[in-house]
Amino acid sequence: MDWRALRVSLWLGAGTIAILLPFGIWLGRLLAVRQFRGKLLVEALITVPLVLPPTVLGFYLLVTFGARSPLGQAFQALVGQSLPFSFEGLLVASAIANVPFVVQPIQRSFEAIPTEILDAASCCGLPPWQRFLRIELPLAWPGVLTAAILAFAHTLGEFGVVLMVGGNLPGETRTLSIAIYDRMQAFDDRSAGVMAATLLVVAVATLMVTATLSRRVGPRRA
């Protein structure tokens, strides 16, 4: 059992959620309530990671982050290390790959709030930010929860993007999925089996937490 790989995987999942949720809530709500020019293009761009083969996505991210690209050079100058084949680079790649899984459920849940409810909140004297915190966010909460769990589960299982951008550096970019593949290549079936079982347990646990939380949230909806 590669405990370091499990730690990398869990940190990657948690980090992806931490980066993506605020962004997803902002963008999802924006897409739900505003009509603006280019909205369709934005929605299409968000969906791209969903339809692109992970290796293709990984390839483009690698090219974008690479030492020869302006973005890669800027990061190098700022942080003093390169993005590809580092945990930070993996985190950025994972966040980008998960955008559709986060933005779409959140957008749907904000869209599901009736206009009358929002109007009623305004007529109750709630300024926009209070209306957001006290009315919109609690009502969109099931969507936010779904987004977080989808992103976490998807990050644990991601293989193509991780391999392309992160490589296979122990303790840095070797996630559990990569480690399983790695062990199989080395004919270490037992380790691979233990790690696969671990991921299975994590997956089932995630689903159970989702079900419990959504049941607790459920009766709040009229």
Binding site: I117, D119, A121, S122, C124, P138, P219, R220, R221, A222
Partner: protein, 374 residues
């Protein structure tokens, strides 16, 4: 005393045609009445600041909420307005108490709960304070919505089809409740409805709307006595509406005597105390005209008066006669043939015969204000 008069002027051609101008004084109930799609709700939304017509002026007392001429537009959350939505729009994730507390942002944190509890008690919902909208009946939801709208002590209360989603029995109780509020609040109350019963029961003034335009407006009793309002006939049937007081009850004969400014009427006995204020509606088609008082008939009410107006409708071969009885202007629907036969002209003496059972009586609270909305 603070001036709380609401003044509204809205004008635009598209996308929703609007051309209305009205005022509503404190303690008055203005019913905006018209078919669906006539722009009623848009008027309420414009007052609340949820909609911005091309040309608009909305003033509450000394405060200007909207003035497109001066580019003034106060956002809804800064207007002292209570709005009860048609489907109530309660917050699904909050209890009745939480819902009302959400509207109390202007109070200190520590005072909100107490205030919300007392407002819920006012609408008799204390025992349901911890329930969410899904656990409340239609009538209870409406009372929460009402409590929420009133909790902020608004300068204007707006009600959008407040009775459309509840059954008839609940409707009656809610109407009474709102009528009670009207007396204690002393703020302008604007009620949007497509049901004429609401107008008769609750309104002091009415504004009849068609395609966003005012067809008629004024005090309910004055407006209902005008013979030429074909628009109203279409939806309600013509009939005069006036205020009266119960002067006598006669249980033995099963009758109640109603005194109005100009005489008395007998109606079937109802659960009404002597001295109770009632609103009376006499449908125009139920009134029979006679040149001399008949004898040996079953009807109780023979009212003598003077013909004050005759409005002939050539297309229908009918006419509406307005008869002045004291200050009451009674309307009668008759055929043009009857006009000729009886020699009905303005100024002629006439008897109006009304069956007691055709008189519609509704108990209301005393109405003192009669000033005219422009």
């Amino acid at each position: 005393m603070r001036d709380r008069r609401l003044r509204v002027r809205l004008r635009q051609a598209a996308p929703i045609a609007l051309d209305v101008e009205f005022a509503c004084g404190a303690g008055d109930v203005l019913a905006v009445f018209g078919p669906s799609g006539s722009g009623k709700t848009t008027i309420l939304r414009s007052i609340a600041g949820l909609y911005a017509p091309a040309h608009a002026l909305v003033q509450s007392g000394a405060a200007t909420w909207t003035d497109t001429g001066a580019r003034t537009f106060l956002p809804p959350y800064r207007r002292a307005v209570g709005l009860v939505f048609q489907e109530y729009a309660l917050f699904p994730h909050l209890t009745a108490l939480g819902d009302v507390m959400a509207a109390l942002g202007h109070l200190e944190r520590g005072k909100r709960r107490g205030r919300a509890e007392s407002v819920l008690a006012q609408v008799h919902l204390s025992e349901h304070a911890s329930r969410r909208p899904g656990q409340l009946s239609g009538g209870e939801r409406q009372r929460v919505a009402l409590a929420r709208a009133l909790a902020r002590e608004p300068d204007v209360l707006l009600l959008d089809e407040p009775f459309s989603a509840v059954d008839r029995a609940v409707r009656r109780r809610l109407q009474d409740e709102i009528d009670g509020l009207r007396r204690t609040l002393d703020i302008p109350l604007v009620l949007v409805t497509h049901d004429f019963e609401d107008v008769v029961r609750l309104a002091t003034h009415v504004l009849v709307l068609e395609h966003g335009r005012t067809v008629a407006s004024g005090p309910v009793t004055a407006l209902m006595s005008r013979p030429e309002l074909g628009a109203l006939r279409e939806v309600t049937g013509l009939g005069s509406v006036f205020d009266a007081v119960v002067s006598r009850t006669d249980a033995a004969r099963g009758l109640v005597e109603l005194a109005f400014d100009g005489g008395t009427l007998l109606a079937p006995l109802r659960d009404l105390a002597i001295g109770a204020a009632v609103r009376v509606r006499v449908p125009a088609r139920e009134v029979i005209l006679a040149t001399s008082a008949p004898e040996g008939v079953s009807l109780h009410n023979v009212l003598s008066g003077t013909v004050s107006a005759v409005h002939e409708d050539a297309a229908r071969g009918q006419a509406v006669v307005q008869i002045a009885i004291g200050s009451l202007l009674l309307l009668a629907d008759v055929t043009r043939d009857a006009i000729g036969r009886l020699g009905i002209v303005v100024g002629a003496r006439i008897h109006a015969l009304v069956k007691s059972v055709s008189i519609e009586v509704q108990g209301v609270s005393a109405r003192t204000r009669t000033d005219v909305a422009p």
